[in-house]
Subunit: 141 residues, 2 copies
DNA sequence: TTGCGTGCAAAGGTTTTGCATGGCA
DNA sequence: TGCCATGCAAAACCTTTGCACGCAA
């Protein structure tokens, strides 16, 4: 368990560096892999999976399961941002867009759920499904 | 698109019938498939996938994505319950318990999301992940 | 030198697709 | 009869695992 993460390899640094440049975006393993492949740099797909898993364990990256048959999404969370409120995610069922939501009112909702219903919501794992602005405007279905 | 769901086949009826008997539980495609297989009845796995997909579209069934590498979970939602305000679902990440949540405050939250963020939340498809009362009390992790 | 990290290939498991057959309306 | 639904097999897809080699400490 704690045998992991002892070494600081070039691949790890490259991946973290890339993640920082796309901070705030949702990216997949494939995105990371293709990025390095297109640059001619070499980072194996397995390594991307394993490093991302480690970064999730370390709290530097958040993993979102958006849909059963879509690849998992990852997002870099700068250490500076860890204290600053929660970030929720909304997934449009129609166009597939993934939206970030920073909102105090959602924090209130979380408090309510905890106090009234005893449920401690995990924003990192929870994805709201529905229709985004544009798709909702186009009429129902 | 709308060519689906025109016929009422035996397989469809059987599946719906079974779903009703396990109402309130979350089951997988494999559960459904194995149930019929063990009874000697014949419902192909593909059919289970396709009927469940249809039932989700029709709003009779909700689909939960519990984990990236676990099969999707499905739950039957009786039509009688559809009008009674919105029902949210909370899934405990630790014990797996599925909690039903009827609450006016959540309706307010939905209004807020629509008005302020332009996102029309779909309670049928959204699952809140986190820790339930008991598991949260046992300490973190 | 030690043993973790890497990367290829292969396996694993879930879900989807192609296509001929079967069954509802 | 027309057309959708079924079901088998195969494919597609994401992710994990086995293993030999490379590299950080």
């Amino acid at each position: 368990m704690n045998s992991k993460g002892k070494y600081k390899t070039k691949q790890r640094e490259d991946i973290v560096e890339y993640l920082k440049t796309v901070s705030g975006e949702h990216i997949t393993v494939s995105d990371v892999y293709e990025y390095f492949r297109s640059k001619g740099a070499s980072v194996g797909q397995t390594t991307v999976y394993r490093q991302l898993e480690r970064l999730v364990d370390e709290g530097l990256v958040t993993k979102y399961i958006v849909d059963a048959n879509s690849p998992a999404c990852f997002e870099y969370m700068p250490p500076e941002s860890h204290g600053k409120g929660n970030c929720f995610h909304c997934k449009c069922e129609k166009c597939g867009k993934l939206i970030h939501l920073h909102c105090e009112e959602m924090d209130e909702m979380m408090s309510h759920m905890k106090l009234e219903h005893g449920f401690v919501l995990d924003p990192k794992r929870t994805v709201f499904f529905g229709l985004c602005d544009e798709c909702a405007g186009e009429g129902k279905q």
